[in-house]
Structure formats: C-alpha cells, structure tokens
C-alpha cells in the first residue's frame, strides 16, 4: 500500500503518493513549474535546474523534477528570488553556446526561446563566450549543431530508454561537454543509430534537426509531445 503525503506548494494544499516528485504533483494540481530538460516518458536527471523550488527548512534549492515529496513539506515554486535564478539560468544557457534565433531552424518552435520570453528575458547582461563548436551533418537525414545544444540530454535518454539504441552519450566535462554518437564517431558512421528521429523530435532547441529544413521551418511543430513516449515507459514499468 502506498503512503499518501500531504504538503503545500505556493500555499496550496496538495497530496501525492510517496514515489512521486514535486514536479509530478505540481503538474497534477495545475501548478506550472518551468522545465527544459524534463520530458514526460523518460527519466529525469535534474540537468537544467530551471525547476528549482524552495523547501521550507532547507537552505538549498531543490530541483522539482528529481526531488521526492515528503509529508508536511512547504514548497515555494514561484518567488522573486526563483524568478531571478531562473532568468539567470536561461541567460547562461544562451551565453554558453551560440544561439542566433533569427536564422535557426527552430525559431518560434524552440523551448529555450519560449522560456526566455515567459521569464521576461529581454536582453543579456553576461558577456557571450562565443565558443567555436562544430556541426555534424554526416547523417543522411539529420544533423546536430552543437552551437544550439543546452545539454538537456533528452536525446541521450530517449535513445537509451525508449528506442534502446543508446547511440548518444556524453563526452568531456564542464564547458567542453558535448553529446556524441557512438562514442565520438561521426553520426553518419554510427552503427547503432536506427535513424528513428526520436532525438530530433525531443530536442528542445534547434540543435538536432532534419537536414534541408529552412529557417523557422523546423519539424518540431507537431509537439507537444509524443505521448507514446510516456505510454511506452509506463508499459515497460
């Protein structure tokens, strides 16, 4: 028998079962907590930190997507402090690589862009890093532009957990971190990739795209969101 916990989010009384996360309970109760790396149907990993919330009695901010609920928690999901942090996170994501929305395949269909708009990020104060990062367009159908990757690792997770191909991985550390195919081989030479396109569909930005798509004509207009990902993961338990 599962235990039911009752607690509050932004003063609203809510309840959930012991195995749920704060984000799941918030979603069930219509409380919107912003996310970028979270994707229904694949396991959360708390990478983007956009969903951080305040938990009464703790000095640390907790990512809502990976924090289990507990009895009597008092959670603040929206405050000026959190808004400031979230805005800073989005700004840092933009500055870390080279995002040029006007000529991006995902323009107007981009979750990073939407998040920036929703959080009132009208300009950048941080200096851009402008790293030199490449594009791998060796796959016949798809390409990855690392300039636009925010390392949410949805591609890595969907490829491993849903498709079962485990083509994608993560290489290097810190600012040098990159997603890679087949341990660093060009995507076009991958022997594990099934060309299913799930990674392209779940990418929140224009980092992964169908080749030949023109600017703002990205193929991700049919989101949200591949409901079958969730169905598949539930069936598999």
């Amino acid at each position: 028998m599962t235990t039911v916990f009752t607690f509050t989010i932004d003063g609203q009384a809510v309840a959930g079962s012991e195995d749920q996360t704060i984000l799941e309970v918030a979603e069930e109760n219509g409380i919107d907590i912003p996310t970028l790396c979270h994707l229904d149907g694949v396991k959360d990993r708390g990478a983007c930190r956009l969903c951080v919330v305040e938990v009464a009695g703790s000095n640390k901010l907790a990512p809502a997507c990976t924090t289990q609920i507990a009895e009597g928690m008092e959670i603040t999901a929206h405050s000026d402090r959190l808004l400031e942090y979230r805005r800073a996170i989005i700004e840092m994501l933009f500055m870390e690589r080279n995002h040029v929305c006007a000529v991006c395949v995902a323009n107007n269909h981009c979750e990073l862009q939407s998040m920036a708009e929703e959080h009132g990020l009208t300009h950048f104060d941080l200096p851009p890093i402008s790293p030199v990062v490449g594009i791998d367009a060796s796959h016949r159908l798809f390409a990855i532009d690392h300039n636009r990757c925010i390392l949410c690792l949805r591609c890595v997770r969907v490829c491993d957990q849903i498709e079962g191909a485990h083509t994608w991985d993560v290489m290097q550390r810190g600012i040098e971190t990159r997603v890679v195919t087949d341990m660093g081989k060009p995507w076009g030479e991958s022997t594990t990739c099934t060309s299913c396109g799930k990674c392209v569909q779940v990418c929140p930005t224009g980092a992964l795209f169908e080749k030949g798509r023109a600017v703002a004509r990205g193929s991700k207009t049919r989101r949200p969101y591949l409901p079958y990902l969730k169905v598949v993961s539930e069936e598999r338990g």
Partner: protein, 473 residues
Amino acid sequence: MKRELVIDPITRIEGHSKITIQLDDRGEVTDAHFHVTQFRGFERITQGRPVHEMPSIMARICGICPVSHLIASSKAVDDIMAVEPSPTGADLRRIVNLGQIVQSNALSFFHLSSPDLLFGFDADPAVRNIVGLARENPQFAKDGVALRKWGQEIIEQIAGKRIHPSWIVPGGMAQPLAEETRDRILAGIPEAIAITERALAWYKGEMIRWEEEAASFGNFRSAFMALVDRQGNVDHYDGWLRVVDSDGKVLADRIDPHQFNDYIGEAVEPWSYLKSTYWKPMGYPDGLYRVGPLARVNVADQMGTPRADEELGKFRWRLGRVANSSFHYHYARLIDTLYSIEKIEQLLRGPDILSTHVRSRADINRREGIGVSEAPRGTLMHHYKVDDDGIVQWANLVIATGHNNMAMNQSVLQVARHYIKGENIEESMLNRVEAVIRCYDPCLSCSTHALGQMALDIQLLGPDGALLDELKR
C-alpha cells in the same frame, strides 16, 4: 521610477561613407574617392554553417532588399542540390523579386531622390526632404508611400513577411499561392500602374530643368551589364548575362551566369571595404561597367511588356539607344518599375500559378553552386562551396553596389571637377556629390536621406595631403 531613454547617435543609415577630393596647386580637382568604411564579413561568418541556412543568413545583409539576397542565395543552393524549382515555384519567386524591385525603386525615387528633383539641388536642406515633399506635393508623397506599400505587401503575402521573409527556400517556395492572395494583389495593379505613369509623366515634363546635372552626373562612356531572357527582354530572375558598350554594341552575349568568374574580376583598393568589380576582358581599371535600372534598359532589346516598351521607346527617342549619364538612372528606374508591375500581373494570370507543387527536394549533389539574379540596384551573384555534408566552406558575393563602385568613383570625380572651384565647399556642392551617388541607389543610402541626410564626410586635401576643408553631416 522615471526613466530617460537617450538615442545617441541616431544611426538611421544602411552604411557609412566618406568622400575625399584632392586638389592641385591651382585649386583644381585632381582626384576623388568614394570610401565605404564599414566591414560586414558575411562571406566569413557563414563558413561552417549548413547550406540550407544560407538564404536566411544572407537575407540579413539588408533590411530593404532581403528578397534579392534570398533569391540569389536560394538559386545558389538549388545549384548545389542540382534541382530546378517547379515552374510555379520559380514564378512565385519571380513575383516576389519583382515586388521587391517595385518597393525598392519606389523608395529610391520617391523617398530618397525626388526631394532633390522637386525642390532643386540648391534648395534649403530643411525643406529638401520627404517631409517637405509631403507638405509641398502631398499627392506625390502619397503615391510613393502607396507604391512602396504595394510592393511590400506582395512580399508579405507570398513570402511570409515584409522583412527577412522565410518562405523563399532552396528548391522553390515553402507555400503555394492562395487564390484570394492572387486576387488581392491583382486588385492593386491598376493603381500601381497609375502611380508609376503619373511619376513618369511628371519626370518627362521636368527633365529639362536638370540638363546641367545630367551632363555632369556620371556622364561617361562605359559598358553596361544585365540579365536578359532568350528573346532579349529584361529578366530579373534568370536568363543570360549580356554586356553592351556605350553605343549599344554587344560586347558579350548569352554568358551563362555560372561562368561569371571568367568575365568579372574583383579588385580591392586600400581606401574602401567595397570591392571594385571589372570586366576582365578589358582589365582593371579600364573594364568599368554599370549595372542596375539604367543598365537593364540599355542592355535589353526591349522590356517585354506593352506599357514599359512604349516608355522605353520614348526614353530612347530622347536619349539615344544607350543613355550614358548616370543621372538617367532615375528615368530608367521608373520604366523598370512599370515593367515589374506589368510582369507581376502577367505571372499572376498564368494558368498554373495556384499549383501546389512549388518545391523540389534533393540532397547535396554538387560541391559548388552559383545563383545570379537582378536586384533593384543591379546584378547580384552568390557563389558557395560546400563539403559532402552540405557545410559551407567558402562563399563569395558580388553585390550590385560593387559592380557600380568604379562608376560611382568616376561620377564623384566628374561632379567634383564640375562644381568645385577654389578651396571652399558649399552645401549645394555637397548635395550634388550625394545626389550623384544616390542615382545609383547604393545600399548604403538605402535607409538614409528619407529625413534629410546621408552620413557623409567630405574632405578637401591639398597637393601635400593637408586637410584644407571638411564638411561633415
């Protein structure tokens, strides 16, 4: 909390330019240079980008004529994919390109140049602008605004939006034409023609007033280059390059635009970021040629539409088979506009214009591609090289303003020699130097002058290089 917004300086300009004029011991003009002092670097920043992004990136070169770059760039990528757009896709591109020509020509003639023509080159600069125009001749100003709006609406309705539209894509167009859109554009044709014919009638009636300017505003022998179709008609989208001399003699014809590198060279001068292109068979700097509306009417056998051909006949009756003064760019621009409106109507009435097959698709099939079209200011060339994955390795753009660079320099020298006497510069001289540049409608004047002035710096240098006088705006 009260806030104060300060805009300083106002940079209402497409580009920055400078003119230097050299004088000898007797105060006579010996040389003059037109310097373009800004650097953009699009050929470098596009290296490493997927080639399908090129049209949209290249469109950002200009907010006035993004469609010209979209067309030439998309054609270059078509070439790399080794595909031709379907006939309907090509015709829709033609219509958008002509809409672009109409709106840009309207901007150049009505908004930028007509204040000089209407008020005279010596008029008070406080009056000699679009605001003065609206006060003095409201119908004329309204005509200019309405014609530009009509051209912009064509771009918006067929290509998605007015500035930097995204529906002109490699392989054709992203969207077919809706019947109601076609009908809406067609409904505006009679007024667009009426406006252009009114402007032409006015211009022809007033031409005699500008005889002195016409005689010294870039009035010299040179070659002219433009695209023509199989029948020798003007063609703004496709066709072959033709070059004629000052007498109308054809120097070269039926040049496949893909071979343009065999005929056109690019020289770099230390005093300008704008490259000088030249006709290779004649070498540099003798191979000076002009492009743009004047070149189009000089090069073509005929325009190819009835009203424009009638006007071309009158143009040639007045000025000869080839008009050599750059002042006549204005006159030619109006004929070019009339042609464009008529051609848009012809294309929209085509039987297959509503076909839904507007795009061809293909992978990367060539490592190199060239796209050439006529932009408002003249022939525009995009040339790309890619790797097997379609990543851009190299790009070269030959822009209309570059073709005209040597001619603009020679024109500035001619105007300076004619109007500068002694060591002082007067405002009317400054305005004439601006006005001769404006004849060519170079991109750096695109968004200037509408409210009075172009950012221009004129320096008068003595024989030892010492600065004698300077006028800045």
